[in-house]
Symmetry: D2
Subunit: 406 residues, 4 copies
Amino acid sequence: MRELELTGHIIDSGIMTRVLDAILDMGGAFEILTFEVGRQKTDPSYAKFRITAESSDIADQIVSRLHRLGARLVTVDDVKLIPAEADCVVPKGFYSSTNYPTELKYKGIWIPVEKIEMDCLVVVDPHLTRASCTPMQKLKKGDLVVIGEQGLLVHPSERSRDPNDSFEFMHGVVSSERPTETIIAQIASEIRDIHAKGGKVALVGGPAIVHTGAAPALARMIKEGHIDILFAGNALATHDIEYSLFGTSLGMDLKTGKPVAAGHKNHIYAISEVMRAGSIRAAVENNVIRSGIMYEVITKNIPFVLAGSIRDDGPLPDVITDVMEAQDAMRRYVPECSMVIMVATMLHSVAVGNCLPSYVKTICVDINPSTVTKLMDRGTMQAKGVVSDAGTFIPMLLAQLQAMTE
Amino acid sequence: MRELELTGHIIDSGIMTRVLDAILDMGGAFEILTFEVGRQKTDPSYAKFRITAESSDIADQIVSRLHRLGARLVTVDDVKLIPAEADCVVPKGFYSSTNYPTELKYKGIWIPVEKIEMDCLVVVDPHLTRASCTPMQKLKKGDLVVIGEQGLLVHPSERSRDPNDSFEFMHGVVSSERPTETIIAQIASEIRDIHAKGGKVALVGGPAIVHTGAAPALARMIKEGHIDILFAGNALATHDIEYSLFGTSLGMDLKTGKPVAAGHKNHIYAISEVMRAGSIRAAVENNVIRSGIMYEVITKNIPFVLAGSIRDDGPLPDVITDVMEAQDAMRRYVPECSMVIMVATMLHSVAVGNCLPSYVKTICVDINPSTVTKLMDRGTMQAKGVVSDAGTFIPMLLAQLQAMTE
Amino acid sequence: MRELELTGHIIDSGIMTRVLDAILDMGGAFEILTFEVGRQKTDPSYAKFRITAESSDIADQIVSRLHRLGARLVTVDDVKLIPAEADCVVPKGFYSSTNYPTELKYKGIWIPVEKIEMDCLVVVDPHLTRASCTPMQKLKKGDLVVIGEQGLLVHPSERSRDPNDSFEFMHGVVSSERPTETIIAQIASEIRDIHAKGGKVALVGGPAIVHTGAAPALARMIKEGHIDILFAGNALATHDIEYSLFGTSLGMDLKTGKPVAAGHKNHIYAISEVMRAGSIRAAVENNVIRSGIMYEVITKNIPFVLAGSIRDDGPLPDVITDVMEAQDAMRRYVPECSMVIMVATMLHSVAVGNCLPSYVKTICVDINPSTVTKLMDRGTMQAKGVVSDAGTFIPMLLAQLQAMTE
Amino acid sequence: MRELELTGHIIDSGIMTRVLDAILDMGGAFEILTFEVGRQKTDPSYAKFRITAESSDIADQIVSRLHRLGARLVTVDDVKLIPAEADCVVPKGFYSSTNYPTELKYKGIWIPVEKIEMDCLVVVDPHLTRASCTPMQKLKKGDLVVIGEQGLLVHPSERSRDPNDSFEFMHGVVSSERPTETIIAQIASEIRDIHAKGGKVALVGGPAIVHTGAAPALARMIKEGHIDILFAGNALATHDIEYSLFGTSLGMDLKTGKPVAAGHKNHIYAISEVMRAGSIRAAVENNVIRSGIMYEVITKNIPFVLAGSIRDDGPLPDVITDVMEAQDAMRRYVPECSMVIMVATMLHSVAVGNCLPSYVKTICVDINPSTVTKLMDRGTMQAKGVVSDAGTFIPMLLAQLQAMTE
């Protein structure tokens, strides 16, 4: 038997439902002790309830599940901590983080968990009295790791009620049967609002942006200040530079849609020219690269991370070939993002999605509806899918952004 | 201002949440007057609440929306009825049916609405004191059509809590990353359970069943009594008969996967032989067709509907070429179905889905995850998607069914 | 042993290759008797060769296959004809038409086969000395049906060598990684060229055009004269009229992307209003419909065929609910088409594709690459696929067409 | 003006056609000087022809293109070599390798190019008189790099004519409408034949193999000796070990298809247990891992490469996190492969595909037809696509393999 409590907009956010669902689904039973429903839109509700289950184990599992929905034991003790026995070896019963904002009780006071990221350990630094999410590969012997859910409180997302919140445009299933121009207008308006509030917008992009002819539009978006951070791989940068130098992408002339003679060598030349210069920045400064996505990234001096992948040719000298280092590089910029737009890349979208807190607005644009399904299967539940073609989506998004600022 | 009430498992079914959601989303406000929460798993809850909105129009819209979630005005008057002014012309404000079980109050008593089907009118027969869903194309001048939601009560689906309910296997998004053999075993077990209770299982199938080589397995399923009704089109029956007569499907030898000489004529011969016999049944009786899906359908004497489509060759004499007649033929058998398995056909799946009440268990198997998305977009919300290949799915389902009965 | 000959650009068109391929694939052997290769680009080549096979049957099959590639027996006799023994019953060994231009030798002279369409019978009218493709369902008892390939000559497509032929933009596999704006520009230029030569452009469209918000752009294209014929179903017309009357499509407000209150009734009202008027034309003339795709179709007085399908609500009075009648209606307009653009509908695309001669330029635009695969599997080999989103494709095509005429 | 010659089965392999095609497409003209056609199936043909073009540049481009089809200049001089000016910097006009077998003329003699791989440089070692394909990232300052096509001869694939070659089962487009069981039988038979000849079969697999429940079947295939090399990433191995330890994959119980309590931690535990042991091999030897794909890989002692990716959790200690090192590890085993079966992973399939010579039989199995399209777009033209579900495909392939050996 355990007593838990919940506060907030637990009725209209659906959280109360999910709590009771979870209890029943996991084979437990509940008795509601107190239930004070907010009578008006703005009032929070409060519920106290008792859980019973066949075994103490099951009851613990239920508490662990409810914890992730924001419920807490009525009496809250400090978190339990166990030192890691070796590097990268997690203790039994470790607490696995959600991507929701989280607090923990340590030495009787509540402190926020920093570097929120799902599927991490939470490590407490007893000297600084700080706690933070820590990926298992960064766990060091002796780190104090949180065990169980005791002393932890998460704040699940409550969805926006603001009818003017343009981001609430997508309901239910990911479908290609949604009004694309309307959705694009709403994304444009969201980008503008975030910038108005001083937020940052990251773009995660795959090479199909270049192959479908959308590189000039994306370059322009960067030049005009709509994108603040770029996450991509070797392929996007390589084919962008190929296009800038030769007018082709994977050897196809983007003006005609036809392969050009010896065009299959162009991306190798492109990489080689950057190799010769030493870096993309140097190639821009030497006037080797005079236009394109990477040109604008360098010229505007916005941060970028090019993460390596095993199918890379080259790669460009700026590509981080060690994937764990590349993850760290992404983690450096993720906390600055208020919005992430993912276009035409499942690999990089899942990678960035893994590091994103739940409150970062996340749009995933792909011709294939399964890409957003996969993102959500991997835990990036806040991702909203747009089934569209990068080659038309980006130019139309640029047009909308430009129309707004006129 | 309107007062409404709700009863049932409104908390754990999520309905209370959806009710409050809807009020706020539509710009209304609510005040909860009474809220008696079921304290235990088996207790129903009761809520009474007051809705306010800027205008009476909006309040009406909210009531209309809440109606579909099972809420009713505290004081219930009789339904309002208006005679149709002409055939197929719907009155302003007509009540559009859901696919949930529905009752209406007529002359002070509650009567069930028959022939439940979504997006229909509800017509009351004053002589028989009966009400039924009526597709607009069947509306006759003078029919008494229900207007507004007054006097109507729907019973939205509450999902099963039975941990042994094998049908509750799929959660959330439609994904190709689910354990296929496990899902197949669960479907097999569901089929067995339905038959044990005297229910019927319909299959809606596309020609890819034949093209992918699964026709013998489906024929066997029919022969062994696992399928009770077949809904399909000309293509499935034609290629099945083509395969039976010539070993090919669309001219491809299914034993080798290669096209055979002059194989493109085989389906025309197949249709022609049935034309000569007069019907599929006659062709079976004349020993022209000696095996296959249609052979077993005829031999077991199970009902089938072959609906025409504009891409049909032939078609076979059994195909109903008028699509409205074909719909009616489907409607004749739909009330008998406890479960519908849809395989590899978007067209027929949506068509059958349109006629299904919400409580019919509906499985949609397709290689393309978008097919189930489309079904759900069209209102068949109960459909559960399995992303798999007809050519492997059906033989494995047969094997599971056979393993069960051994 | 058979002797055949071939003339034309048989080397660079790849036909010689396919001929020899076919012989070897089918288990035959060949001996080349004469081979005069055109030495220059403009010269035709000529080949005479002898085929041997294990059996006379196989040799016949090979000849039958080569016939479809344009080869003919060195000595050509008249076609063989057999009267049909009953309506819709095809004679054994009937000649099944290709979608290539075809001639036949009858009473010693070569006459063209009319109404070219694949998978049909060829029926000769001895009184008028004319021959035409006849779908099996139109075969009447006593019709003289061509048997075997004797006396027939087909002219397979030779692909354009003109480097300025904008239609030759797509090579090999159907991919979402092609430059969409470039492809759209090429389609626009092709439309303009066809109109300059007096040709006609048909559009085959699905309701996703409306759902994705592209209806105003398509309406505009029709108004400006870029589309000459419309093939669609009940859904496209219904949702277009729904959008025109209520601003929604399937109940979703296309300006916000959100469902509107009671919006699920709008398409029923839309159909009902047309029912009341009697036809779409009458509804336009009565000012019930004042904008949209169907409004422009009626106002410009361009021909349209709305073919019924079993998933139709309503349907609109203009919909042809008998699918065989609908096919005939399509066949009436197909001979006028120089180009067919298929957007977001597999059903109607395959249906129209079935009736198209091979020389009609055929573009298939779909978010799902499998749609064009299916078209080609069904024999519409000339179809070129564009993997894109109707909601962005059509507005960008309109913009290109408008840019051209400025 | 250039004179070239071609020998071999240039007619029936379609190469002659592609040569003439290319000349005309690139704006050149040709004159055929000699054309000796093999009169019988087994005779090679010989063609000598002259190319003219507007400019010498275009003529060079045409020669370069024809070179890739096996044509050579009538007079063959030695290859031209230029030393690389810096590490990773390619010389202008470098020869970019195909994935076909290639020879080059050096000091008057023909030597084979080793380590055949597409899009590489060819570097000649003058001391050893050997030549080999060299990825640009391995190019060292001073390496002698082949320039232009002079002195090079490629041998493009000629397709098999053997009617018993079970590998020739797939024609044309990648479609989900092929007989899956037949295709699986053919793949099984191909695996057996390759093993009979002493060849090796590699499997490239994604984690969906585990998620869809096919891990036990794949483990069994390895145990029974049907797979000789495994290429995968961290995810496949992690979820396989998770399944072995906990019965879940990504926290979903594969026996029920439902998520288990705290299941999202299981893959972290799985990685941690391997961390503790030090390696997968150590974990197997310590009896931590007692079943599954990796267990059989270790027990059978077959080579495996686990390549890192930026979305990896952990990763396992056996994962090569530097992608360039991972590529090299793959390259070590690629030369041993006679067949590669790629299942449910686009990333690893493209990576392995990049390194494969054209004569390695390559099967790509994916639920999404676009995956094979992408492989072919990236140059792995020999890949044959099977659109199916890993969760049913692998168990059925195992069953076929077992049936064969009984």
